[in-house]
């Protein structure tokens, strides 16, 4: 549905072609589903094998057909039980390649990602694949998501796949856990440096950093604040870095303990905000951050003045600013 067709509606010849393609695709799916109704018996005869090709073709163009992926699993597991190890390994690689082809055309098809994960992670499958081959495949698996995220840095399926693959790798090579987390963090940082507005990358930074960071929370915070300040100084009107920054200011969890954010640190950040606002007085996100900082510093009256400005610039969120004003009054009393 999203982004399936952009631009004007097809008409005439184009519409005819589209309807024909739709009908052809539906026919493939119908045949594939029909085949699944037969009882699966090994050995699979020639007639079955010929018809099974239809399933592959159906999935390449319609990877949302989750029933057909289930069918692929059923057939694969049956062959695991009876075929030679060499054949099974070869079939396994074919299955992986099928998901690659499907995902190339439809990068957001849930069942295609799931099928790939199953091939790499499932215990029953693992019993039939030589461990070196499996390990090699898992080790180079991040190349797929790297490519998908190169095509679309916000594809959350790609990001989720990276997390899952990392988990599988850690389960197979537990001694490499901290190295794997660091490598992942390096990837995230690369994506942020490519494009500060890539919010998915900032999000994954928020998940990874507390796992990796081995210094005291105060040092962690100071370093992170420096890093994120570079981002919003360069591009003050892009939300991403600001939202991450706000999380840090609220005492982002470092090693599962919320850091106590020292007043001095908050005051430094306030100074940085004010410097920015001198150059760009209408920078909305900087103002929002300034209001949050003043509240945290218990300077309610000044916060209220900033909120007045915000309400004028951003009337859509006046309900929210009203709520924030309420917080100011609480902070007077504190």
């Amino acid at each position: 549905m999203h982004g399936r067709r952009k631009g004007t509606r097809p008409s005439g010849v184009e519409l005819q072609e589209e309807l024909q393609q739709g009908a052809a695709a539906a026919e493939l799916i119908r045949k594939a589903l029909q085949l699944r109704k037969q009882t699966l018996i090994y050995p699979l005869d020639t007639s079955f094998r010929e018809k099974y090709l239809v399933v592959e073709r159906a999935l390449e163009t319609n990877p949302d057909e989750y029933t057909l992926w289930a069918f692929r699993r059923e057939v694969f597991l049956l062959r695991c039980e009876h075929d030679s190890p060499e054949t099974v390994l070869s079939l396994w690689k074919e299955e992986l390649f099928l998901t690659t082809r499907a995902l190339q055309r439809h990068p957001k098809a849930y069942p295609a990602w799931q099928h790939r994960l199953w091939l790499l992670e499932d215990a029953e499958v693992a019993n039939h694949i030589p461990s070196e081959a499996r390990l090699e495949a898992i080790k180079s698996e991040q190349k797929l998501s790297q490519y998908m995220l190169f095509k679309d840095g916000r594809n959350f399926h790609g990001w989720a796949h990276r997390m899952r693959v990392k988990s599988v790798l850690i389960s197979v090579l537990p001694e490499h856990e901290s190295q794997l987390e660091r490598e992942e963090l390096a990837f995230v940082e690369e994506k942020i440096n490519d494009d500060f507005s890539n919010y998915s990358a900032w999000h994954h930074r928020s998940v990874l950093l507390p796992k990796v960071h081995d210094q005291s929370s105060e040092v962690f915070l100071t370093e992170e604040l420096d890093y994120v300040r570079q981002a919003f100084y360069t591009e003050p009107n892009v939300q991403s870095a600001w939202f991450y920054h706000r999380w840090l200011l609220a005492g982002a969890p470092a090693r599962r303990m919320k850091a106590h954010v020292q007043t001095r640190l908050l005051e430094d950040e306030l100074m940085a905000c004010n410097e920015l606002l001198e150059i760009e007085p209408e920078a909305k996100y900087a103002l929002q951050t300034k209001a949050q900082l003043l509240l945290q510093l218990k300077r309610g009256m000044e916060a209220e003045a900033v909120i007045d400005d915000l309400e004028r610039m951003d009337p859509m969120r006046k309900g929210y600013y009203r709520y924030l004003r309420g917080q100011c009054h609480i902070s007077y009393q504190a």
């Binding site: 057909e65 989750y66 029933t67 289930a70 849930y110 989720a160 999000h203 892009v238 951003d314 309900g319």
Partner: protein
């Protein structure tokens, strides 16, 4: 086509978010959307009120409904969704499905039922929680006795239980993925069908809260799985699940609201699904409904005021309606049934839970924010499943 005045252009340059010069792709896409919205608004006659094109939408939806049982070729695995989107949209618009058509739809959906009690995306497909949810809700939205009686409660109960995992989550299908959408589909059916009040309720509820609390991201929104990025659809699913099971501790509702408030687009007025993404009318419901959902948890009426319901209504009516019926994601893309359903559902939230004025003519019926059924259909289904 009207040519905007220089004053109007100057005003637009002041109001748009992309007036602060940028270089990335996402920024230029955003600029394009803002320009399209601006041009649409310019073309509108300021003297004429903006109208909901009720008859056009109903006419298109009825046409789609007739085509449906004969098989809608391109979307094979989502036929239950097509039925729900059409029937619920008609319901919101105040139209009634003719009884013969309704009967055909019921029989058509029955063909999706799998031997294990769930529904697939179409005939011959294996059970899937999203397909089950959509088929079930389509039948409840139809609301006829025949529709409700066609539901195999025992089968549904078995299938949903089978999908429950050790860690409290749900898988969408046998061998399928585990995520918060699956949990919402499971609990949505279980909640409405009454399973949560039965003995099996304990098993279904087990560790749901625990799973949900692992989904809240650093910015307060909710991801699809632990560690996942905050996303409008997943945030809706997570909060709705917490409401269904009555767990007030699983999520930090305050943080969800703060996240949601930031999703309303400054210039367009509609909602985006994630930070730095484009406006999309379907989030009118997925994000819009978060406000009444959280209000039902924290009891605060002020929650409804946190979003600009008039701006949301304006976006849907001004920018998303097609003159020949149906609604779309945003200007520049074609209409489709999914966006028609959720743009109208979001409009309902804006009118009935927010402060958007409908002036009667533009009114849509009130939807239940948890299950997204019109209130009378929700009540009928609720009572029906508890009388059996």
């Amino acid at each position: 086509m009207k040519i905007p005045s220089s004053e109007a252009l100057a005003q637009f340059e002041k109001e748009r978010t992309t007036n602060q010069g940028k270089a990335t792709d996402s920024w230029s896409e955003q600029a394009t959307v803002e320009e399209r919205v601006f041009l649409l608004r310019q073309e509108a006659d300021p003297e004429k009120p903006i109208l909901l094109l009720r008859e056009k939408h109903v006419s298109w939806l009825m046409h789609c409904l007739h085509v449906l049982p004969r098989g809608f070729k391109a979307f094979d695995a989502v036929q239950g969704w097509l039925a729900f989107w059409i029937v619920h949209s008609l319901d919101l618009l105040g139209a009634t499905v003719p009884s013969e058509t309704a009967s055909q739809v019921v029989q058509h959906i029955k063909r999706f039922e799998d031997a294990d009690g769930g529904y697939g995306g179409g005939p011959g497909q294996c059970s899937h929680l999203a397909c089950t949810f959509s088929a079930f809700m389509a039948l409840c939205a139809l609301g006829t006795d025949e529709a409700l009686q066609s539901i195999n409660r025992d089968g549904l109960r078995n299938f949903i239980l089978q999908m429950k995992q050790e860690d409290g989550s749900f898988r969408v299908s046998d061998g399928g993925e585990t995520d918060v959408r699956a949990m919402y589909c499971a609990l949505g059916v279980a909640g409405l069908a009454g399973f949560l009040d039965e003995d099996i309720g304990t098993a279904l509820r087990k560790d749901c809260g625990k799973y949900l609390s692992g989904l809240q991201a650093f910015d307060g929104g909710i991801g699809g799985e632990p560690g996942g990025e905050a996303h409008g659809g997943n945030t809706f699913c997570g909060v709705a699940c917490a409401v269904i099971i009555g767990d007030k501790e699983a999520l930090d509702a305050d943080k969800v609201l703060k996240w949601a408030v930031m999703r309303q687009m400054h210039y367009e007025g509609g909602f985006q699904g994630r930070t730095n993404k484009l406006v999309d009318s379907c989030y009118s419901y997925w994000v819009g409904a978060l406000f009444p959902l959280v209000a039902s948890v924290n009891g605060s009426k002020k929650t409804a005021e946190l979003f600009d319901a008039e701006a949301l209504q304006r976006y849907v009516l001004e920018c998303c309606q097609l003159s020949n019926g149906g609604l779309r994601d945003k200007p520049g893309v074609p209409r489709d049934l999914m966006h028609t359903c959720y743009a109208l559902s979001g409009l309902s939230v804006a009118q009935h839970f927010g402060k958007a004025k409908s002036n009667g003519v533009n009114g849509v019926r009130k939807t239940n924010p948890v299950y997204n059924l019109c209130e009378d259909k929700f009540e009928k289904a609720w009572l029906f499943f508890r009388e059996v």
